[in-house]
């Protein structure tokens, strides 16, 4: 079970910031999210959106071990 976190405009769009999703890989997580909310899934794959797994930025595909935290990070604004 992955703990999914959304930040910034992505959380506003989704209407939630945190949710548990059953998925063994990043691709299957995206599919599960797309089944529930296609517009959100498109935004999560949009330009400038980075993915962090257990607080480390990853690029491309990744497997998700048990109790993984997956965060979708829109372009950062700075402080």
């Amino acid at each position: 079970m992955a703990r999914v976190l959304l930040f910034g405009r992505l959380a506003d769009q989704a209407g939630w910031r945190e949710r548990s999703v059953e998925a063994g890989s990043l691709a299957s997580l995206r599919q599960a999210l797309a089944a529930a909310d296609p517009d959100l899934a498109e935004a999560l794959g949009g330009p400038g959106v980075q993915v962090a797994i257990d607080k480390t930025i990853v690029r491309g595909e990744a497997t998700l071990a048990a109790a993984t935290e997956v965060a979708f990070l829109p372009p950062m604004s700075g402080g």
Binding site: F7, G8, A71, L73, P74, P75, M76, S77, G78, G79
Partner: protein
């Protein structure tokens, strides 16, 4: 408060003068302390509240990595960074940065360097709440140019 004692993300307002006094205390070999305080602007009535979102454990770790780079680059004795998160009213302090070095040039430059990075590349998400609604803010071209001075 975070796992990095030199770095704090806080949802509460802070007093910059107290932070500076504490940072200066007990230093026998530090010849120079430079500090910067950033305040929330009202933007001529356009912004009633600024909201800053961080990713705890990620944002503070990213700031710590960069601050340690600054410490090595400018041969700092020490630094202190306090950043507000959550809802911030105009006039309130958003960020406090202090740097301690043997001599003033390194302290000034390290403070400037840290602020340019914090303003343009630190992992925060910023939303302006105003009378015309809410909007997410991204770094300005000037913020990016300022940060690129050091690359």
């Amino acid at each position: 408060m975070t796992a990095f004692p030199s770095i704090s993300l806080t949802a509460h307002s802070f007093e910059p003068g107290v932070l500076l006094t504490n940072f200066c205390a007990g230093r026998a070999e530090t010849g120079a302390v430079a500090s910067f305080v950033g305040l929330a602007r009202a933007e001529h009535g356009r912004a009633t509240v600024l909201e800053l979102e961080a990713y705890p454990g990620f944002t503070d770790a990213a700031i710590a990595r960069f601050a340690e780079e600054a410490k090595a680059r400018f041969d700092l004795h020490d630094y202190r960074i306090v950043h507000r998160i959550g809802r911030i009213a105009p006039g309130e302090a958003i960020v406090f940065v202090a740097t301690a070095a043997g001599h003033r040039r390194a302290a000034f430059e390290a403070c400037d360097f840290l602020m340019d990075w914090l303003k343009s590349r630190a992992p925060f998400w910023k939303k302006e709440h105003g009378p015309d609604g809410d909007r997410w803010i991204e770094p300005t071209a000037q913020d990016r140019t300022d940060a690129e001075r050091w690359d």
